[in-house]
């Protein structure tokens, strides 16, 4: 792990290694499952959003016309566990005045984008290897399943809200009127009976691919390579790297632009990576408080 305040000991890895679900104490862990979302074939149909809601009986998220392209659900929330982003990107070079449409050969050129494009991408909980939400949850409502996924248990969550600001991707949220925190369960119940998650099953173009994480990572690498060969030099993976700030995401993506364009953090880090440092500083501070206040009794009355 990079860039930690190296304290000589790493509370995180000491307590749980980098290999969910194998360090979860499950007698018989399954392979780790996850998603590879290939946004280059996403048609922005939102079947994933709907299938998720149908399966999980998630309430609708309010009817608001946003004017944000075709995105009216705006982001992941307690009531939207899959969210499809729509990004309209005009050609970087200004097109000829007069309102004349510009024209360039597809796939041609130097890799520099020459045409208008409309990016669509279905976002979801990343099921982080090092999941801040899960780390900070005081009740154990959030837990790591035998499939290596991160799930909120609705019978446990007391709505303390801690997981919400902890998530570096802004995924999990509290549901109004219900008080509990909700997010994608990676269809824990379906995995339990050997069924694929509802969103991945519905996805018409297989933009959402579900499977064993290790296999998905290979598939994704091959896909990027193919795209690069075909001249799609913008193609890149996001969240696939086990060495990144969250230890690699269980749900990772093939994007065509910088993550922040899609509303994703460019370099997310699990907050608890710094927890040992925080405890250390807090310990020193507490000691200072004790000492300081004791000292206050030294001087006169």
């Amino acid at each position: 792990m990079r860039d930690v305040d190296h304290d000589g000991f790493d509370l995180r890895t000491m307590l749980v290694g980098d290999d969910p679900p194998h360090d979860g104490g499950y007698p018989d862990p399954a392979p780790r499952f996850g998603f590879f979302t290939d946004t280059t074939v996403c048609i922005g149909c939102k079947a994933c959003e709907v299938a998720c809601k149908e399966w999980n009986h998630v309430p609708d998220d309010g009817l608001v016309f946003t004017g944000m392209s075709y995105d009216n659900t705006q982001g992941l929330s307690a009531d939207t566990w899959r969210h499809v982003a729509f990004i309209e990107q005009p050609a970087p070079r200004p097109v000829a005045d007069l309102g004349m449409p510009s024209f360039t050969k597809p796939g041609g050129g130097d890799g520099e984008r020459s045409e208008f494009r409309w990016l669509m991408s279905s976002d979801v909980c990343k099921h982080c290897t090092h999941a801040a939400c899960l780390d900070v949850c005081p009740t154990g409502a959030l837990f790591r399943t035998e499939f290596g996924t991160v799930v909120v248990q609705e019978d446990i969550c007391n709505g303390c809200g801690y997981c919400v600001p902890a998530c570096p991707f802004g995924v999990i949220d509290q549901r109004e009127g219900d008080g509990r925190a909700w997010k994608c369960t990676l269809c824990y119940d379906r995995l339990g009976v050997g069924q694929e998650p509802a969103c991945a099953k519905a996805c018409p173009t297989d933009s959402i691919q579900f499977g064993e994480l290790a296999e998905l990572r290979e598939r994704a690498a091959a896909r990027v390579e193919r795209l690069h060969e075909a001249g799609v030099t913008d193609a890149r993976l996001y969240g696939h790297d086990p060495d990144d700030g969250v230890g690699g995401a269980g749900a990772f993506f093939l994007l065509l632009d910088e993550p922040e364009v899609y509303g994703l953090p460019p370099d997310p880090v699990v907050t608890t990576r710094d927890l040992p440092a925080m405890w250390k500083h807090a310990g020193v501070a507490a000691a200072a408080l004790l000492a300081g206040l004791a000292a206050a009794f030294l001087g006169g009355p």
């Binding site: 074939v41 309010g62 009216n72 309209e88 208008f116 409309w118 790591r144 248990q153 099953k201 519905a202």
Partner: protein, 1092 residues
């Protein structure tokens, strides 16, 4: 609890004792989590079904627990959908089990201000009374001196959301009752497809199937928003792309389809004939056509009559046009030496104007039959023809079709394409290049279109233009080739095949006309071809009559041919609306259609309904067509007052597809059975139930009647078995009748078994075989993974379970494949039969070298190299000498309301189009006439992935509504800046008919185009909204006009001129004022736009 157990249930204890000291995994697992079990796994049973939304026909698994549906998801076994569902299909559980649905019968008495509940039985009996009363009062034994046996007082609309069996009963019962105004969405959706494809190839259905897209090398999507409207079908485009295919999208807007395409070409709406004509010219002038294919498989070599004059000669008109009647006579279009359509001459010949004034709305329409949807009768058979056409296989003869075509399209140059369509030359040439490079023996290109082409006054001809092009490129009948017509609703192909359409009987047999066709023999003579499979029409007709009137149908009484009511002109849904406004049509059934939102000129639709005596609405929820009397827009403007509306309204809740069994025919002619999962709740009933019991009660009431008009009803075979607590008719029994049986009641297995002597009965000859061996072939569900890519054992497709039509053309004339890469069906000389992957669309044992003896008739008259077996000459038609009413070759005309003059010809609009001048149906001035500048923009209307059609199945569904919560308009940044429209704000859009408001979405996806030297801005309007439901907005069809394609009677809603201004529209009477002020400004009168 025992303390030790309690302790063990404390995760801290498990943390200390188990393998999860951090308490983040196993130790933290709760009791509920440990017991969790997916409800799909806990279901009692899984019922196989089909998605009720669109015509892709995705397979669904319906999970049932007890008597509740608990989950609906994709069926992975389906070869079409592979388990996937789009957002609508994924919302099926909410659609069918959500609180949005109604389960009580409602009744609004005349002049009533609210609904009241009524019990189902009473309501049904009341409807029976109304039907019989209106029928009695409006019965016509004769009309204009001809026997018609009908009522014009009752009409029915809807069918595309229903099962084939339900459509069958509608058509059967209503026809027996003498109701001819039976229509469904097929009219407003794809009727022009049937005309365009039917006259070109001999059948009116898509020529291929979705999975075959994967074999395509180039896919041209034009007039379709494939990814948004048929999302699950689009996976096969993705598949082709992954294999290296080029995908082109030609569309006025950059859509979610464009986003996945290699090339998006923005085009001015309504100019596709110019664009396609340009490609045709490119192919012909560069000699890029597939010569051998063209020579042998098309009518390119056929010589056209000397009398023919082209648009080149007559500046935009073909020969034979009569400006007074606004009709073409086909005489001069004929092949040389052949009376191409002696029969159609008679069939379509003008009678001695029997209609006298019936069509006062149709300017100049003297009620000629040819304009009455006859083109659609080519849905499964080409035009009749007599004699041997002359051919010049060198294609050099100046009057051979090839040369005629070449001259006709010579003026469609890249420069003209640019001027007319606003498509830059380079983009146009790139499309030409990709198509030409990806056609020929080794490669194939496929065309995909839908209602971006059909819904124009030139809709049929747009499709024709694509047919011409695909024939020239040799892409028909071959894998990865063909023309994919993406149809609309789940049941719409079926509601065209077993038509709830005024002009057709099942299997595209025409409805008889009053003026001629007095008896069965003349009827058959008029329509049956001498050559090809349509020559067996007598067997189809007689078997149909036997299916309907059973024992009562005998050779002596012409098999009850006279039980059929007669047409006297156009009785399409738009004609009916005007009849309603005029008070001639008094009773209306709306069974699964919402014309108050979905049909052109929504106000006219409602004004028609406001003038009815009674209206029956069958739907899931209270659509705008059910509540207009209470809260429709005219109530707000004061044009109507609830207390003054005398229409009695019955609302019957409909059963959903999960609550009934039946078949849907998908966009590729494939019948798929959906099984019933649960019984409907409350008063909800299937349409099959409604029709069967309606018919039963009517027959009960009429029992013993001696009135001749009641004979057809009483003679009807109407003894369907019922089952269950609700007395639900058994849908399979209806399917068995549709399939047909022989004299012993043994199910038939193919239409060639049908006889004309009354020994066979068959409700729809093209569906004959769907119940072969007494087995429901539509219910076959052999998993895709266990089959080859054709998946022939999944369900059943007409004709004869073929998936790619005209597939004989995938082989050379000598019967060998054009190439190894593109082989599909070929002649196996050893076995002496055609073989291959698909069911050959050819007589199995007719060798390639077979040549008919002189004078041969029927199927024998087709040679071994005639792949288009439904055509009377076995060839596909580049040039259509008869059967299409507005020209043998497509020519570009401007839309009815266009801000531009026609740059190609002096003739501005399609001269044969049908106009309906009416104070509520005004048109815009000509493109170069004064006043046209008042409506300088072009509106196009379309769909979004997230909603469905007029909204009945999506606007009441929270999960879909939240995704697109309001009506919006799409405008370019330039237009927004020019007009002061703010993203997220409001705009008002005005046409000569009405004005609506919409939220503004400013987007670079709308491209301003350079057309005829000026910049044209187009405005996009998705048409799903209306004032009811969760997600609301004005209905876009307030803006559109009733103006129709002459052959298909489809409305032009894809392109019309308009103005746009910032802000919301006025309310109340001021709205009417606003529209009036626009009309005045543009100088619009009742004549405007009605010129030839």
């Amino acid at each position: 609890m025992d303390p030790r157990e309690w302790l063990r249930s404390w995760p801290v204890y498990r943390q200390l004792t188990g393998g999860d000291p951090a308490g983040r995994a196993a130790a933290a697992k709760s009791r509920r989590s440990a017991a969790l079990r997916a409800r799909t796994a806990a279901a009692d049973r899984v019922v196989k079904s089909v998605c009720p939304y669109c015509a892709v026909g995705c397979g669904q698994d319906v999970y049932v627990r007890g008597d509740e549906v608990v989950q609906v998801e994709g069926d992975p076994d389906s070869p079409v959908s592979r388990g996937r569902l789009c957002p609508k299909g994924s919302a099926t559980l909410q659609l069918t089990t959500g609180s949005n649905r109604r389960h009580k019968v409602l009744y609004r008495p005349p002049y009533g201000t609210g609904w009241r509940e009524l019990d189902l039985d009473t309501a049904l009996r009341m409807v029976v009374e109304r039907v019989l009363r209106t029928r009695r009062e409006t019965w016509q034994d004769e009309h204009g001196g001809y026997r018609v046996n009908r009522t014009m007082g009752i009409a029915s609309l809807g069918g595309a959301t229903l099962d084939n069996e339900e459509n069958y009963l509608i058509k059967k019962l209503f026809t027996a009752l003498g109701v001819v105004q039976v229509e469904n969405q097929a009219r407003v959706c794809h009727s022009s497809t049937v005309v365009g494809l039917g006259t070109s190839f001999g059948r009116g259905g898509a020529t291929t199937f979705l999975q075959d897209l994967q074999h395509s090398d180039c896919i041209l999507i034009e007039g379709s928003n494939f990814a948004e409207c048929h999302p699950v079908g689009f996976q096969w485009v993705t598949e082709a792309k992954a294999r290296g295919a080029k995908v082109i999208h030609v569309d006025p807007r950059f859509t979610r389809t464009s986003a996945l395409a290699d090339l998006h070409v923005p085009i001015r709406a309504g100019t596709d004939i110019a664009f396609l004509g340009g490609i045709i010219n490119h192919v012909l002038s560069t000699g890029s056509h597939f010569h051998e294919f063209v020579v042998h498989y098309t009518n390119a070599a056929t010589i056209v009559s000397e009398d023919f004059r082209d648009t080149e000669d007559l500046d935009g008109l073909f020969s034979g046009f009569d400006p007074d009647s606004r009709h073409y006579s086909f005489d001069t279009w004929a092949y040389e030496g052949v009376d191409v359509a002696p029969a159609s001459g008679q069939r379509d010949g003008a009678p001695d104007d029997p209609d006298g004034g019936e069509h006062e709305h149709t300017a100049g329409d003297t009620g000629q039959v040819r304009a009455s949807g006859r083109g659609e009768t080519h849905g499964s058979g080409g035009t009749a023809m007599e004699g041997e056409p002359r051919r010049d296989e060198t294609l050099q003869h100046p009057r051979c079709v090839f040369q005629v075509l070449k001259r006709h399209y010579a003026r469609y140059t890249p420069e003209e394409v640019e001027r007319v369509c606003g498509v830059p030359r380079e983009a146009f040439l790139e499309v030409c290049r990709l198509l030409v490079e990806n056609s020929g023996p080794e490669r194939t290109s496929e065309f995909v279109y839908a209602v971006g082409w059909t819904q124009h006054t030139t809709g049929s001809q747009m499709i024709r233009a694509a047919c011409v092009l695909q024939l020239l490129l040799g892409n028909m009948g071959r894998p990865g080739g063909g023309i994919q017509a993406l149809r609309g609703h789940a049941g719409i192909q079926g509601s065209s095949d077993i038509p709830t359409l005024f002009n057709l009987l099942p299997g595209y047999i025409p409805m008889p006309y009053a003026h001629h066709q007095h008896d069965l023999a003349s009827f058959i003579r008029a329509d049956a071809a001498r050559k090809g499979f349509w020559s067996a029409m007598d067997t189809y007709v007689v078997s149909l009559l036997k299916a309907w009137w059973g024992g009562a149908a005998t050779p002596e009484n012409d098999f009850c041919f006279d039980h059929l009511p007669r047409l006297t002109g156009s009785h399409s849904t738009y004609d009916t609306v005007l009849e309603q406004i005029d008070g001639n049509c008094k009773g209306y059934f709306l069974m699964g259609e919402n014309p108050a939102v979905g049909s052109a000129n929504a106000k006219a639709q409602r004004l028609g309904m406001a003038n009815l005596e009674w209206l029956v609405v069958r739907d899931f929820s209270l659509t705008e067509s059910a509540t207009w009397w209470q809260d429709g827009p005219e109530i707000d403007t004061g044009e109507l007052r609830t207390e003054e509306i005398g229409t009695e309204v019955f609302f019957f809740p409909a059963a959903a597809h999960t609550e009934k069994a039946g078949s849907f025919t998908n966009t590729n002619r494939m019948l798929q059975w959906h099984h019933q999962a649960v019984d409907p709740k409350g008063d909800a009933r299937s349409d099959l139930w409604f029709l069967y019991h309606l018919g039963r009660l009517i027959r009960q009431r009429l029992a013993g009647s001696t009135e001749p008009r009641d004979r057809p009803v009483l003679d009807l075979t109407w003894d369907y078995p019922t089952e269950g607590p609700l007395d639900e008719p058994i849908a399979e029994a209806v399917l068995a009748e549709i399939n047909g049986w022989d004299a012993d009641g043994v199910p038939l297995s193919t239409s060639t078994q049908l006889a004309a002597d009354g020994s066979t009965a068959c409700g729809c000859w093209i569906y004959c075989g769907v119940y072969a061996d007494g087995v429901n072939q539509a219910a076959r569900r052999k998993p895709a993974e266990e089959q080859d890519w054709i998946a022939a054992e999944w369900a059943w497709a007409w004709p004869a379970n073929r998936r790619i039509l005209y597939n004989r053309a995938s082989a050379r004339p000598d019967g060998t494949p054009w190439s190894e890469r593109k082989k599909l069906v070929w002649w196996d000389a050893e076995a002496g039969e055609w073989t291959g992957y698909d069911v050959p669309d050819f007589e199995r044992t007719k060798p390639p070298d077979y040549r008919p003896a002189p004078g041969a008739t029927g199927v024998d008259a087709l040679s071994g190299i005639d792949p288009f077996i439904m055509q009377s000459d076995g060839k596909a038609w580049l040039y259509v000498p008869s059967g299409i009413v507005d020209g043998p070759m497509p020519a570009h005309y401007e839309p009815q309301d266009s801000p531009f003059p026609n740059a190609l010809y002096a003739q501005q609009r399609n001269p044969a189009r049908l106009v309906y001048p009416h104070e509520h149906n005004r048109y815009a001035p000509d493109g170069d006439a004064p006043g046209s500048e008042v409506f300088p923009y072009v509106v196009t209307t379309y769909r979004l992935t997230e909603h469905f059609t007029a909204g009945g199945m999506s606007r009441w569904t929270p999960y879909l509504s939240e995704l697109q919560p309001e009506l919006f308009c799409e405008v370019s940044p330039a237009l927004a800046a020019a007009k002061g429209l703010a993203n997220g704000g409001w705009a008002t859009i005005v046409t000569p008919r009405n004005a609506i408001e919409a939220r503004v979405l400013v987007t670079d996806r709308m491209t301003p185009l350079a057309v005829q030297g000026r910049v044209l801005e187009q405005i996009g309007l998705p048409y799903h909204w209306g004032p009811n439901g969760l997600s609301t907005g004005d209905a876009v069809n307030e803006l559109s006009a009733i103006v129709l394609d002459p052959g298909a009677h489809i409305q032009e809603v894809k392109a019309f001129s308009a103005d746009i201004r910032p802000g919301r529209r006025p309310r109340g009477p001021e709205l009417v004022e606003l529209v009036r002020s626009y009309q005045q400004l543009a100088g619009i009168t009742e004549r405007t736009g009605t010129e030839v």
